[in-house]
């Protein structure tokens, strides 16, 4: 059965989130244009966009819920499912394929004991693949949250992961 969500205090955005959204509002013409930015702002604090967050944004910006749903499922950087504290994405585009990204992928899956798209049991890491990260001359590439690692060698993957453990 679907959970019915009643309007309560949780359905509101926090003061900090509102402050951040208000700060970027001047760049755009209307509320619909801010919606992607708002989703990104809320995701920065809540790690992912739950139905409750979606309702809260919809209520604050006064735009339709289905419109937000449509956007949030379209863009790859907006997570509609819970993710771990750190999101690891490896590049699987064809230049990294030439440079053998699969070695990196295998080491990551082996050390984290998960497959691509899954989250570790302790909710620490989520492993995802991403399209070209625009550093093809320095592949294979790994991105953890907002940090980019270039020329990754399988030997050093564990060292990189230790920074986030």
């Amino acid at each position: 059965m679907n959970q019915i969500i009643f309007l309560n205090k949780k359905n509101l955005l926090s003061k900090l989130e509102i402050k951040k959204i208000e700060k970027i509002k001047f760049k755009y013409k209307d509320n619909h244009a801010i919606s992607i930015e708002s989703l990104k702002v809320v995701q920065r604090y809540r790690h992912w966009i739950s139905d409750i967050s979606l309702k809260a944004i919809s209520k604050y910006l006064n735009i339709e819920l289905n419109y937000l749903e449509e956007i949030s499922t379209f863009y790859s950087q907006i997570f509609r499912k819970p993710v771990g504290r750190h999101v690891i994405s490896y590049c699987d585009s064809f230049v990294c394929y030439v440079k053998n990204y699969k070695r990196i992928k295998n080491v990551l899956e082996k050390t984290l004991k998960i497959k691509t798209g899954q989250t570790t049991k302790n909710k620490r890491f989520t492993l995802l693949q991403t399209c070209c990260l625009g550093n093809c001359d320095k592949g294979p590439i790994l991105m953890i949250n907002r940090d980019t690692y270039t020329n990754v060698i399988p030997k050093y993957v564990n060292n990189i992961l230790n920074r986030y453990r």
Partner: protein, 419 residues
């Protein structure tokens, strides 16, 4: 390699140290002289004429003449969008310019906005380019502090605001009309043309979308004149271009070189040749959406026309080497997988056709292909030609497949079971 302003209009300020150049250093190296000259000495129409005469072609991939694109915008009060959503696999030139030379781009935007009489300009940046985002924000704030941006730039009547917008991650956002939709906060689906963005774009107003490299070229054209810009190049197409080589080469990277330099020179002098133990099987001249070329094509000059005559596109000008140890079917499966994953799903040929190709290639990889699989692939390639889909995503996605079947048919045949 010695770098001078006369030969390297884009990167001469970087010299050997590849550190980002901010306002103080940029002004020291004649920064914003082009913008000052444009706003104080020329009228908007004169600038469009200069760019037209310079022969600058869009550096985003399609190569549409920039001056003509600008002259199509008749109405005043338009929008200018800088397309910095670089997601084509194998392309990394814009990142280099965005991270190291943010002020050069902003100067280009100021001149372009003046020529188009824009009320405000947007930079649509990829969400993953964290350092670029930081550097551009810093550069814009530096200008705002010095009052070189905003109202009455350089004591003229011209006012401009530049906003940075970061994308939320979709390959299709790089397409002109999809980018406009994304900026409006919608799903990044391409729009039907006509109306073209030059008459109805962002929020229904005339809009011009230019690539980062195109806009970065403009300050030096205005400063030094179009004759000078035309003479830098070694071919009919004028100017320089960011070119590079990646894959299994000794020194992968990106360099600013005159258009018309041969691919072999680029590979051997700059990328220092192919790694030991490998030989060249094929190469892609500019990103994943271009056709494969062979060893014999390496002596072609890297410019729009020559590469087109050989059956490919210059695209973004960043070439990739495919070495002899790579299986073409597996490589194409990777490329088509990417394109089918990134299809926006707006038109049926692209939404259904690309996964179909992935399915066939998967069978060929497992050596479970059927006898007429290659013909089916060819048929789908014909069905998804330009004009038969909504945008250029599917035709671009099929360019490597089409040429791979042409040159390496035997590798595809290996995956078929003959009963």
């Amino acid at each position: 390699m010695i770098i001078y302003e006369e030969t390297h209009p884009l990167t001469w300020r970087l010299k050997k140290k590849k550190k980002p150049i901010f306002l103080k250093k940029y002004l020291k190296y004649n920064g914003y002289n082009g913008a000052k000259k444009a706003i104080t000495k020329f009228s908007p129409n004169e600038i469009i004429e200069i760019i037209k005469k310079s022969g600058l072609r869009g550096r985003g991939g399609a190569g549409f003449p920039t001056g003509i694109k600008w002259s199509l915008i008749k109405k005043k009060k338009s929008y200018l969008i800088c397309n910095a959503d670089e997601m084509e696999p194998g392309t990394y030139k814009d990142r280099f310019l965005l991270e190291n030379l943010p002020h050069q781009l902003i100067e280009g935007i100021i001149i372009a906005s003046y020529a188009l009489q824009s009320k405000c300009a947007y930079i649509f940046l990829r969400g993953e380019y964290i350092i670029a985002e930081k550097n551009i924000n810093y550069a814009i704030n530096e200008l705002l502090d010095k009052k070189m941006l905003g109202k009455n730039i350089f004591n003229s009547n011209f006012s401009l605001n530049i906003y940075l917008h970061t994308g939320a991650g979709r390959y299709i956002c790089g397409e002109e009309t999809a980018l406009i939709n994304s900026l409006e906060g919608k799903r990044a689906n391409p729009r039907f043309k006509p109306p073209f963005p030059s008459s109805s774009g962002l929020w229904g107003e005339p809009t011009c979308v230019n690539n980062v490299e195109t806009l970065s070229n403009i300050p030096s054209i205005i400063k030094n004149g179009f004759h000078w810009y035309k003479n830098i190049s070694l071919s009919i197409d004028s100017g320089t271009k960011m070119m590079g080589f990646s894959g299994k080469v000794n020194n992968p990277g990106v360099w600013e070189l005159p258009l018309g330099i041969t691919a072999r020179e680029l590979l051997e002098d700059y990328a220092h040749g192919i790694c030991n133990g490998y030989s060249i099987k094929a190469w892609l001249p500019g990103g994943a959406g271009t056709n494969f070329l062979l060893d014999k094509h390496l002596d072609l000059p890297m410019d729009f026309n020559s590469i087109q005559k050989a059956g490919s596109r210059l695209g973004t000008g960043l070439a990739v080497i495919i070495d002899n140890k790579i299986n073409m079917v597996n490589l194409l499966l990777n490329i088509e997988n990417f394109f089918s994953r990134e299809s926006c799903g707006w038109c049926t040929p692209c939404r259904d056709g690309l996964p179909w190709i992935v399915k066939i290639l998967k069978c060929l990889k497992k050596k479970q292909g059927k006898i007429n699989d290659i013909n089916t692939l060819k048929n789908i390639c014909n069905m998804l030609q330009p004009g038969k889909t909504f945008c250029a995503h599917a035709p671009g996605a099929l360019a490597p497949l089409k040429s791979a079947i042409k040159y390496f048919k035997n590798e595809f045949e290996k995956g078929i079971i003959y009963k």
